[in-house]
């Protein structure tokens, strides 16, 4: 009954009035920002990171988690209402969701998305709680070589499962790793790559790079692209789905939850991939596949359940192993570090109340979304009408103030801008910023474990291959990487993301 005791512990912290309030603020702000065009969950979290500086560690993480699934929810709202996916993981929701809206069934589509997300979130929360402890125990047996190998596998998987060029993703991870070495050396304290600047002797701030790459770069990119925006037709009435709707989507919600929970644990675009996979599965097993794309309710229920389940279970590797699987988890890891928490299996052992509070707050947040969002649809719709010319100055000023607030340093503000321009340039050359952030936050851990492993083995690189666990992990990484560049697999991978 460890599990129940742990959940109770988490509940006692998460249900404290202050944390409940933060959870609610996070969920509402997240939905708001998720609805706004041109700002996905990663950008929302990056831009709002400075808001959590003054909070307690538990409060900060609870609020950020709230922002995360709030933004996911907001993204699906815009997919259904105006055919604009707020983020990659709700792209498939547009296929049937917008068709339902066109047929005057926007209400049931939104409701089933919320109900599916909640059901999936509930299952996934229990899964996180269930798997948390055994995985932590395994992780505690790991030595430096195993951790190094595990991080390599994580990075490789993130490359293989991401869309776009494998080679370019590798380059971005390396650039992130390189940027992570700026600042004092871990063991000698020597300033590295700081070029005589005092401000850089403590390293590049993770918040600065995240805000630049995701906030400013997005603004600059969107300013160039002409704005495309659908029109919300009529009013959303008749929210409640019919009995037939519920019966029809129950199976889809269940299957979506299973797919999402499994894929979410894997590094890489968990939420994105699982929504595609869930939709494809529904279409394949449907008695009449031609209904899909014309407003089939399963086409909304399955991907929305899947992406929410995946969003939740992607916390498992972060909370147990201290290894982020995607850009959002990388931002969480960065936020934890800023709060003075050293991520890894120790967190679960020594700060159980923090971890369990975050886990329980996920469920509370999902409940809040279910209760709050449907009545607030009108507010979200009106947010959709905010023109970009008013929106982007707000993003820019948030990034400026946030950049300054990290260390009260003007140089950080300038660096935010510089990384914004770098991010814009990278995107123009088809380099994605997400692997860079992953490399940036994993860099110090990777370096330290590599160093320690080599000291343990007196400099013998064979240590990674003679220890069975690290050897098999590294072997898996090599096989994955080799497979991903094989033409046949590359073609299939491409199909998954294009379909």
């Amino acid at each position: 009954m460890d599990l129940l005791a742990n959940l109770a512990l988490g509940f006692s912290v998460a249900a404290a009035p202050e944390n409940l309030l933060l959870c609610m603020v996070g969920v509402i702000v997240g939905t708001m920002v998720g609805v706004l065009p041109g700002i996905g969950p990663v950008a929302s979290i990056a831009i709002l990171l400075p808001v959590t500086f003054g909070l307690s560690p538990a409060g900060a993480l609870i609020m950020l988690a709230g922002i995360y699934y709030g933004a996911q929810y907001g993204g699906s709202t815009t997919s259904i209402l105006v055919n604009i996916p707020g983020e990659a993981s709700s792209v498939v929701t547009t296929l049937d969701g917008f068709q339902m809206a066109k047929n005057g069934r926007a209400g049931p589509a939104l409701a089933i998305a919320a109900i599916g997300s909640f059901a999936a979130g509930t299952v996934a929360t229990f899964l996180v709680a269930l798997l948390g402890q055994p995985l932590t125990r395994v992780a505690l047996m790991f030595g430096a070589p195993e951790f190094f190998a595990l991080m390599v596998v994580g990075l490789v998987l993130a490359v293989v499962l991401a869309s776009g060029s494998v080679l370019k993703a590798v380059a971005m991870i390396l650039l992130g790793l390189l940027l992570s070495t700026v600042g004092s050396d871990l063991s000698t304290g020597m300033p590295r790559l700081s070029f005589g600047l005092m401000e850089l002797s403590e390293g590049l701030s993770f918040v600065v790079i995240a805000m630049g790459m995701f906030g400013i770069a997005e603004v600059v990119r969107n300013l160039q692209a002409p704005e495309q925006r659908g029109i919300v037709r009529g009013k959303v009435t008749n929210l409640m789905p019919t009995r037939a709707d519920l019966v029809q989507s129950a199976g889809a919600i269940g299957r979506g939850t299973v797919i999402g929970s499994i894929l979410g644990v894997l590094p890489g675009g968990g939420a994105v991939m699982s929504s595609f996979a869930a939709y494809t599965l529904e279409k394949r097993i449907a008695r009449d596949p031609s209904r899909f794309g014309k407003g089939a309710i399963e086409g909304v229920a399955a991907p929305e359940s899947a992406n929410n389940a995946a969003a939740q279970t992607s916390f498992i590797p972060l909370l147990t192993l201290g290894i982020p699987g995607n850009a959002v988890m990388a931002l969480f890891l960065g936020a934890m570090t800023m709060q003075g928490i050293v991520p890894g299996p120790q967190v679960m052992m020594f700060q159980p109340s923090l971890v369990w509070a975050v886990i329980v707050s996920m469920w509370i947040g999902n409940l809040m979304l279910l209760v709050l969002n449907l009545p607030l649809i009108g507010v979200w719709v009106s947010m959709l009408r905010v023109p970009y010319r008013l929106l982007f100055p707000a993003i820019v000023i948030f990034c400026c103030i946030g950049g300054y607030a990290v260390n009260n340093s003007s140089l950080d503000v300038i660096l935010t801008g510089a990384f914004g321009l770098l991010g814009y340039w990278l995107v123009r050359h088809d380099f994605e910023p997400a692997p860079l952030i992953l490399g940036l936050v994993l860099g110090p851990l990777l370096e330290e474990n590599l160093r320690r492993a080599l000291i343990i083995s007196s400099g013998d690189v064979a240590v990674f291959f003679t220890r069975p666990l690290s050897a098999s992990l590294l072997l898996a990484a090599v096989i994955l990487l080799a497979f991903s560049v094989l033409p046949a697999i590359r073609k299939r991978r491409h199909e998954v993301f294009v379909e």
Partner: protein
């Protein structure tokens, strides 16, 4: 639009995005390598301060090189037009914020920064922007200084 883009096969550089992207990464890696030259390398089995930076820089240089070469032999998209007004004005307004925040304080600096940024969009309407800048800078001050208690300078210091 101007002249029609040449078919990819007839361009000398077949995938300019990849080619120039790879070259730039190589340059960045070379710069980092040069910047870490004064740091010690491996000391027996111990990593020196410069080992990791040079390791990552070296790998980045190689990867950038492969990307650039692939850009020569495989077809790809042309680079397209970079925005000028957007990046320039956004960068200028960030510089303005960085230099003005200490002498002018948060409300005034935010107001000016928001005004300058607003000009980055072609759709800017000045009266609206001035009002929006006033509202937004007040909101930011309330949020960051009063609600969140961050230590930001408030008023101009003479």
């Amino acid at each position: 639009m101007g002249s029609k883009p040449k078919p990819a096969a007839r361009r000398r550089i077949r995938a300019p995005r990849d080619f120039y992207g790879g070259l730039a990464l190589m340059a960045l890696a070379a710069f980092a390598w040069w910047g870490s030259l004064n740091l010690s390398g491996m000391q027996g089995v111990q990593f020196g301060a410069g080992t990791a930076p040079r390791l990552f820089a070296g790998l980045l240089f190689l990867t950038g090189g492969v990307i650039a070469v692939m850009g020569l032999i495989r077809d790809g998209e042309p680079i397209g037009r970079y925005g000028v007004r957007g990046p320039l004005l956004v960068a200028a307004s960030i510089l303005l914020f960085a230099t003005a925040i200490r002498p002018l304080g948060l409300p005034l600096t935010s107001f000016l920064t928001i005004l300058l940024t607003s000009a980055a969009s072609d759709e800017v309407r000045w009266l609206e922007s001035i009002l929006w800048a006033a509202v937004l800078s007040a909101a930011c001050t309330l949020l960051f200084v009063y609600a969140l208690g961050l230590a930001l300078p408030l008023w101009p210091s003479f």
